[in-house]
């Protein structure tokens, strides 16, 4: 392995630390709820290992417990994960130099924080596969292990509300939003997506508020952008 690959891998792995910390409660919570909903430990581990998308896993579990047709459960998982289409399209521009096989592997690991950090990384220079996998590996390994731990020792976990676990990810995601404040149209995009997601959350309901809110911000940016560049000229 080339030494710059090793360096990139380690730099990527460093970026995984806050993600591992903030998502650990959810990884374990998933394991706990999975067993409560009748999954075996190996089924819980399998789901974390091959779906690898926290919110959609919990939504799936919620529906397993009820007598809901299988295709509705799968559709719900798809709905919760639909935002990844936007990540995938946006990241596309930064990974064209990867081989097709690396892209096939890389996109499997495209979680929210993986996307956010990859966007930041590609501003400073080239987004390398070594860096990307360096960040993804600890997150993935811990995520699967947490499902097993949660499933095996579920009743040992204290009240998540009292120690603030349920709100860690919103705090983390707010930090990521703040990190992109230098981008053009940041404030109007954040305002549009906030308003649209809150309205959608209270009308259409979860999980569609994510896709609807995101599209509102993206469309606003698409509409406003050319007029801004013309003004600059």
């Amino acid at each position: 392995m080339h030494s710059s690959n090793v360096r990139d891998f380690i730099q990527g792995a460093r970026k995984s630390v806050p993600v591992v910390v903030a998502s650990a409660p959810f990884g374990m919570l998933f394991g706990v709820v999975a067993v409560q909903n009748g999954l075996s430990i190996s089924e819980a581990a399998l789901m974390s290992a091959i779906v690898f998308a926290g919110a959609s896993q919990l939504v799936g579990l919620e529906l397993f417990g009820q007598s809901i047709p299988a295709w509705v459960v799968v559709l719900s998982i798809f709905a919760v994960n639909f935002r990844h289409v936007l990540y995938s399209a946006a990241l596309s521009r930064h990974v064209m130099h990867w081989t097709p096989l690396k892209r096939v592997i890389g996109f499997f690991f495209l979680t929210d924080p993986q996307y956010g950090e990859s966007e930041r990384r590609s501003v400073g220079g080239q987004l390398t596969f070594a860096w990307y996998i360096g960040m993804a590996t600890p997150i993935y390994v811990c995520w699967v292990m947490e499902a097993v731990i949660g499933a095996a020792f579920g009743n040992l976990i204290p009240d998540p509300h009292a120690i603030g676990l349920d709100f860690l990810l919103p705090i983390y995601f707010l930090g990521m939003v703040m990190d992109f404040r230098d981008r053009p149209l940041w404030l109007p995009v954040v305002a549009a997506s906030s308003i649209a997601s809150v309205i959608a959350y209270n009308t259409v309901g979860s999980p569609w508020h994510v896709s609807i809110g995101a599209l509102a911000g993206v469309l606003l940016a698409a509409v406003l952008a050319p007029s801004q560049s013309e003004r600059a000229r």
Binding site: I77, V85, S88, R183, V189, A222, P226
Partner: protein
């Protein structure tokens, strides 16, 4: 194999399709229209905002204080410091208010 097993497999497939799908669509185009480019540049702020706004609105004083402190820290600190300080405020207020 149980129904649960097959739901997990199908859930994994549709999830992967969302993760590769945007790339498969975009890689078919040689050039990207400026409006599309601007829209894609807005993706991080737009999507991540929707993961914050609804829980923030439905929170109380403890949650709002935690987010306000975290946002201030985010202006200069790194992510770990930000998450830690937000969590500290949240835990303190939830257990005292």
């Amino acid at each position: 194999m149980s129904t649960t097993f097959w739901i997990i497999i199908a859930g994994a497939i549709v999830t992967y399709l969302t993760r590769i799908g945007g790339h498969l669509v975009l890689s078919r185009f040689k050039t990207i229209h400026p409006r599309v480019e601007a829209g894609l540049n807005a993706v991080p702020a737009a999507v991540l905002t929707t993961l914050v706004a609804p829980p923030a609105i439905s929170g109380g004083i403890a949650e709002w204080a935690a987010l306000a402190v975290a946002a201030l820290v985010a202006l200069r600190g790194n992510l770990i410091v930000m998450v830690a300080s937000g969590a500290a405020v949240l835990i303190l207020l939830r257990n005292t208010l």
